[in-house]
Point group: C2
């Protein structure tokens, strides 16, 4: 079986990346989210290996030292990260693994998995980004400004990504189709078919 | 208007690349073949600027010295090549330019147009390649063996190309759709959208 493709998806708050990926999962089989590991305590109803792989701080740090954590960050005093054995198992089973992470993690992944495809989902323009953040109605003004400022830092790094998907209002299907098209096209890349010549002549 | 994409298409004799591209042109607008230049004499009915841009040997060599020939080869004592102004005009008009050339020319193009997308169209396996060449019924045994040997040299260089399209028997639509999908996906690449950040914040 052909190995799956590892895809990293990032996008500023307000890009709608989660909604786009939700539509991708509805439209196409063969994609899986990688389940992250965390040191935060499970909330009621959360199951180890479903929402997260729950680890103690000592376990997580030991995994880091063994190079089994391919990207991680800390938030509110807890580790959040992606475990190499989890990703590699899914890829070997032919699944296309999606990691929805921020730009720092994306750069860590690119170093450790040079064949990973990095996709940045963005709103069509700054005005739309601002309108979406304000439209939620749940964010404070300070929070909105902080997210807008952060988006600027993230988007500045856009050319560290391979692809840009512009997620326009009311065009969710189009954005999902673009994502699926990118993955299909990447599967035809020579980078992802290194054994072509040998297969062609030895079969 | 967004600039068009330059795509180089190669494939061994028997890959069916011409047929695939024919179907691409039927299915999708916005693609043009780049018209080559040659020093061979026009045949009856051939029109300058339609089948070829016809040049004298002196004109062609002068264009080479002016770096206006982006790839060329010689065949039966004549030059055949691609003129930079012809390609650049089409790209500026937003057309997706297709160059159907051999591997040497493809490598010349990649040096001069680093953003060009290189696609190799191949049969599914060696047995199919041989069957197709023999099935034509018009080639001598010597010619068949020569083409098979040549294909081996060409395919050895496959990872100088960006994409591989496997053109299976009786699946022409699938191969054409893959080609169109690759171009659509490449248009979303950050390489082909270098001005994204400035447009996002200045519009």
């Amino acid at each position: 079986m052909a190995k799956g493709l590892l895809t990293v998806v990032s996008g500023p708050s307000g890009s709608g990346k989660g909604t786009v990926l939700g539509r991708v999962f509805e439209k196409s089989e063969g994609f899986v989210y990688s389940i992250s590991a965390t040191t935060r305590a499970p909330r009621p109803g959360e199951v180890d290996g479903v929402q997260y792989h729950f680890k103690t701080k000592e376990e997580f740090e030991s995994l880091i030292s063994e190079d089994k954590v391919v990207e991680y960050t800390t938030y509110a005093g807890n580790y959040y990260g992606t475990l190499r054995p989890v990703v590699e198992k899914d890829l070997c089973e032919g699944k296309n693994v999606i990691l929805e992470i921020e730009v720092d993690g994306a750069m860590q992944i690119k170093k450790k998995f040079p064949d990973a495809v990095l996709v940045l989902i963005v709103p069509p323009d700054y005005a739309t980004l601002e309108a979406r953040l304000r439209g939620r109605g749940t964010n404070t003004e300070e929070d909105i400004l902080r997210r807008l400022e952060r988006s600027r830092e993230e988007l500045k790094l856009f050319n560290n990504y391979d692809y840009l998907i512009i997620n326009e209002d009311n065009r969710l299907d189009e954005a999902a189709d673009k994502f699926i098209g990118i993955i299909e096209s990447e599967k035809l890349s020579t980078v992802h078919n290194p054994d072509f010549y040998n297969k062609f002549y030895n079969n």
